[in-house]
């Protein structure tokens, strides 16, 4: 294994451009190092990108820009993110453990392309854009187009993930992020759900819902979102939406849970969140 530790973006893209054989980028290492230890990943070339100047959170007009090397803990605690994208801060705080949150980066969480990645459903409902760069230039990809399967993304082998950008949320936006794991900390999500929308005169508008761990990639629950916008925000609507959303999920059974349970949990998490949103109290 050859290890490179470039200090600039330019140097990095140059190395990426000329390397043959497989290449892995090391950011926080919380996924990669585990895989290398397990022997499921055998890097021929390892590029340590931790020295790159990509650890930042910037406000630009109505945009937020987060550098790929920003740690999950920094995102959780960041004031601009708490103010303008509270759902992302909330999800970041629920990820892993303090040790993992301190090491893991948002770029890594995205590029690793796990369908259970905790920051991704919130980034879906924030309509985030991913900025990639190679030797020649940059390209921007909407997050929902970034993933191509479990552990797979559309990055070319000579590209590096630079930053994530999205529009600030309005104060009037309602949101919730829910996840279920086998225990409280250090547990990979069995199911996660991010919701964003507005409530206007007992109607939901601008609804966006993303689901984690119930399909090969994180997905939007489009039908459910449109359905929720179609009628009065009441208990009948919530019940029906919780049913529809289960049809939108296509979970698998694995050692963490069963497909049946995951499917039902998608409904349960939506129901629970919508009730809390509606009344601050739970049903039945």
């Amino acid at each position: 294994m050859k290890v490179y530790s470039p200090e600039t973006i330019e140097e990095t893209t140059k190395i990426l451009g000329k390397l043959k054989g497989n290449v892995h980028l090391l950011a926080g290492g919380t996924d990669l190092v585990v895989k290398v230890k397990e022997g499921t990943v055998l890097p021929e070339n390892l590029i340590n990108i931790r020295k790159l100047p990509l650890d930042y959170i910037k406000e630009e007009g109505n945009q937020l820009r987060i550098g790929a090397l920003t740690s999950i803990e920094t995102i959780h605690r960041s004031k601009p993110i708490r103010t303008y994208a509270p759902i992302l801060s909330d999800a970041a705080g629920k990820m892993g453990s303090p040790q993992i949150r301190n090491l893991a980066t948002i770029g890594g969480n995205i590029a690793n392309a796990s369908p259970a990645a905790d920051t991704v459903p919130p980034l879906f409902v924030l309509n985030a854009q991913i900025v990639l760069k190679d030797q020649k230039g940059s390209r921007v990809i909407p997050i929902e187009k970034f993933f191509s399967g479990p552990g797979e993304n559309v990055m070319r082998r000579d590209e590096i993930l630079m930053e994530i950008t999205f529009r600030k949320c309005a104060q009037s936006d309602e949101w919730f992020f829910s996840k279920l794991g086998q225990r409280k900390a250090l547990a990979i999500s069995k199911v996660s759900l991010a919701f964003r929308g507005k409530v206007n005169q007992n109607r939901l508008t601008d609804v966006s819902i993303a689901l984690g761990a119930v399909a090969p990639t994180v997905i939007y629950a489009q039908r459910t979102a449109r359905f929720l916008e179609s009628k009065t925000f009441d208990s009948a609507l919530i019940d029906e939406a919780s049913r529809i959303i289960q049809e939108e999920a296509s979970p698998i059974s694995d050692i963490r849970s069963t497909s049946e349970y995951r499917r039902r949990m998608v409904g349960a998490l939506l129901k629970q969140g919508l009730w809390e949103l509606k009344a601050g109290v739970s049903p039945d």
Partner: protein, 768 residues
């Protein structure tokens, strides 16, 4: 009153541990050390037709490859128990047959762990795959694959039917008992596999000392049994082996197994070089486990809450080898049934082989499995006769001054010994627990959450009566300090500290005057080791006797120095004092006098202790929990444990044992499980996928020690290490019933199972 006993004396090893001193097995590095890695079977049941080791042996750094072809074949048991051993001799170092996925095929000793690992991959093995059997009920049938068909095993009851052992005892008349009953229930309960998950996995380092003796530095709970078993397997005299146990990072029973020490020992004997084995976490998961047990329980009761008959039939699955197989099976009856006043009882046990990971000793040792059945059944009976479950328990549990015929009928692997309960504060434990939990005080429903309350009562033993022996040696130094040498094995429990407190109390000195050294077969006297909740009670008894003998000697010499008759003297605060004149001599003066001045000799004493009794500690557990009807998740809100462990020698350490057991038990009840593929391979052998409770998951825990005085124990002490793991499974199952009206008779209670049961309605898991 006591001065040293009953106090939260800091652990004698505490500072070294928190400062990261090199105290553990792995904390030494020896020159020219060899590292050993195993090749493990990918098949659940197969014959090794051939092994080609030539490619591995050619690798640079490989010193030795061991397999059935060149390892000594000595049938033995890996269970570190007393002698003659109650477990079957069904294991050899490397066999021609493999019996579960993960069984040892061969091992490589090399100059680095990486080379050793790489070399195991170069071993080319040809297998003849045999049909496996995983279901314990099927394993007993005619025509099932025979797992132990080797000719040289001993002590297997019926190898043709994979039956390791069985037992049946009857007391009174079941027929009469069921005739008298107003209500009869018959239920099937099942408990699952689990692993001890000590933070420090199994590890051993061996080397030859300057005289050619084999030194085994091992994370073991049983140093003296390790020495005996290794001598047998290696074919060398016990005299040639020294076993040293340093600090241990947890055992919980899994280190009561002797199955790596002799492999490293053999490599050292063959090569003359130090050798080390350290299991990976994945290997640790399939090292030894808890016996999964199916219990068929039929119980009869009158409407007033009198138990008239208990018929308990269990089927225990020991996996591929019979380590602790029969003794755990006996304990499921002997540590459980005497808790209940019932004149008509039958206990029938069977334990069988399957092609699954090997079960062994695990905190609770069969009682945990048994209490899930009996304590669930009490709630089911209470429901049926319309009685409060706590009231029913008050009625049926054994009281101080009473005995149970089961004590006599059932022992551990053999008949038991009759005993009368001389200390039992269970009634007080129940009252206090009820008060603290606020039994059924809060509203039942809270949004989509349903609240439930559950309870369970339990007991264990304190050592194995008339079998377990511990010995101690105390010698006095000229500054008035004492060396306490014990065979007893502190595996993180704090027993070195407790034994020092017992010595200090008896010798009338502060605990800091006691220098403890334990578990070294060359230097310390014998002790069976840390198991069966024996250390405080048995080893502590030996320490007390020894200290009393040494004190007599101190007083005698003090009397000579003071010119007083012995009857006129008392020992107090490290002095011998004349009651008549008030004159005194200090221990320091006495020690100097005896070492240097007059009738020079070492003040020293050594005594052994066994007990004809095994006085049970008792506990009452109460849990308040919420079941989320939307997700099926159980959230334990509060857990209260009231415990009678006799006199707590060190209350903080005793509470630690209780808290540890409860967290261990809640985790077993809710999240831990072994997931097997169709070949019997454990698919979740890592902390990533096998979830033990983390700090964040721990509910509000309230532990109350309710002291009793056990006349046969040192300063009134009984055991505390195991008993509390018996509570969480039944207490939680009972509380789930209270919350949602669904009875779970199969552990663990995962959200998936609960949600499914909520959807289907009615009972889940084992059929009634």
């Amino acid at each position: 009153m006591f001065k040293e006993v009953g106090r939260n004396v800091p652990r004698v090893d505490g500072y070294a541990l928190v400062r990261g001193k090199p105290v553990f097995t792995d904390d030494i590095d020896l020159k020219d050390m060899l590292f050993i890695k195993f090749l493990r079977s990918p098949h659940p049941h197969a014959i090794i037709k051939s092994i080609d080791t030539s490619q591995a042996e050619k690798m640079e750094g490989v010193a030795l490859v061991l397999s059935y072809e060149n390892a000594p074949r000595v049938p033995h048991t890996t269970a570190g128990q007393g002698y003659p051993e109650p477990s079957p001799y069904d294991t050899v170092m490397f066999d021609r047959k493999v019996r579960f996925v993960g069984d040892r095929v061969a091992c490589v000793a090399a100059t680095s762990p990486e080379v050793a690992e790489e070399a195991t991959k170069k071993l080319s093995v040809e297998y003849e795959v045999l049909p496996p059997v995983f279901d314990p009920e099927w394993a007993m049938r005619d025509g099932a694959p025979i797992i132990h068909d080797e000719k040289d095993s001993q002590g297997i009851l019926d190898p043709q039917h994979n039956l390791v052992g069985e037992v049946e005892v009857k007391v009174g008349s079941l027929e009469k008992g069921f005739k008298e009953a107003d209500v009869i229930l018959e239920r099937r309960y099942e408990v699952h596999y689990a692993q001890h998950t000590p933070i420090e996995p199994h590890i051993v380092i061996t080397w030859l000392d300057e005289n050619g003796r084999l030194v085994i530095r091992s994370a073991t709970q049983v140093p003296f049994h390790t020495r005996r078993i290794c001598a047998n397997v290696l074919g060398i005299p016990i005299q040639r082996i020294r076993v040293v146990k340093p600090r241990i990072g947890g055992g919980f029973g899994v280190k009561q197994e002797v199955y790596l020490d002799y492999v490293a020992g053999w490599i050292t004997l063959q090569t003359g070089r130090p050798a080390k084995i350290e299991l990976t976490r994945e290997e640790e998961f399939i090292s030894r486990t808890r016996h999964p047990i199916i219990t068929l329980l039929k119980a009869g009761a009158k409407r007033d809450g009198t138990l008239t008959a208990l018929d308990m039939r269990i089927l225990s699955n020991t996996g591929a080898y019979g380590s602790h197989a029969t003794t755990v099976m006996y304990n499921t009856g002997s540590k459980v049934l005497p808790l209940y006043r019932c004149p008509n009882v039958r206990f029938q046990g069977r334990v069988v082989y399957t092609n699954l990971p090997v079960a062994g000793a695990y905190r609770g040792y069969g009682a945990t499995q048994g209490y899930f059945a009996t304590e669930s059944m009490l709630d089911e009976l209470a429901e049926e006769i319309g009685m409060d479950p706590v009231e029913l328990r008050k009625e049926v549990h054994i009281k101080e001054g009473e005995t149970s015929p089961i004590f006599q009928a059932l022992g551990e692997g053999r008949e038991g010994i009759s005993q009368v309960i001389s200390s039992c504060k269970l009634p007080q434990c129940i009252e206090e627990g009820l008060k603290l939990i606020g039994w059924k005080k809060k509203p039942k429903e809270e949004g989509r959450m349903s609240r439930g309350y559950g309870c369970a009562i339990m007991m264990q033993g304190s050592g194995i009566p008339a079998i377990d022996m511990g010995a101690a040696l105390i010698k006095m130094n000229e500054d008035g300090s004492f060396n306490l040498l014990v065979g007893a094995t502190d595996l993180g429990t704090g027993s070195d500290t407790i034994l020092a407190q017992i010595a200090a109390e008896a010798l009338k000195v502060p605990t800091k005057k006691i220098i403890v050294y334990s578990s070294d077969t060359d230097l310390t006297p014998f002790d069976v080791g840390a198991y069966a909740s024996s250390t405080t009670y048995i080893s502590g008894g030996a320490v007390l006797k020894t200290a009393e003998r040494v004190l007599e000697e101190i007083i005698r010499i003090g009397g000579e120095m003071l010119n007083e008759a012995e009857g006129e003297l008392i020992a107090k605060d490290a002095q011998v004092i004349s009651k008549r004149t008030g004159r005194s001599v200090t221990y320091e003066e006495i020690a100097k006098n005896s070492l240097y001045e007059r009738d020079q000799h070492q003040i020293i004493g050594s005594m052994s202790h066994i007990s004809s009794q095994s006085p049970p500690p008792f506990a009452a557990h109460f849990v308040e929990l919420l079941v989320d009807r939307g997700t099926g998740k159980v959230k334990v809100e509060r857990y209260v444990a009231c415990v009678d462990c006799g006199t707590p020698i060190n209350p903080k350490l005793a509470e630690g044992q209780v808290e540890g057991s409860i967290i261990n038990g809640i985790s077993y009840a809710l999240t831990e499980q072994f997931i097997f593929d169709k070949n019997g391979r454990m698919m979740n052998a890592s902390f990533q996928d096998y979830k033990i409770f983390s700090a964040m998951d721990i509910p509000e825990l309230k532990v109350v020690l309710i002291p009793s005085h056990e006349p046969s124990g040192p300063f009134g002490a009984k055991s505390v290490g195991e008993v509390n793991i018996n509570g969480p499974c039944p207490a939680i199952a009972n509380a789930i019933w209270d919350a949602i009206g669904i009875r779970f008779r199969e552990t663990p209670f995962t959200p998936e199972r609960i949600l499914r049961a909520l959807t289907l309605g009615g009972s889940s898991g084992a059929r009634t």
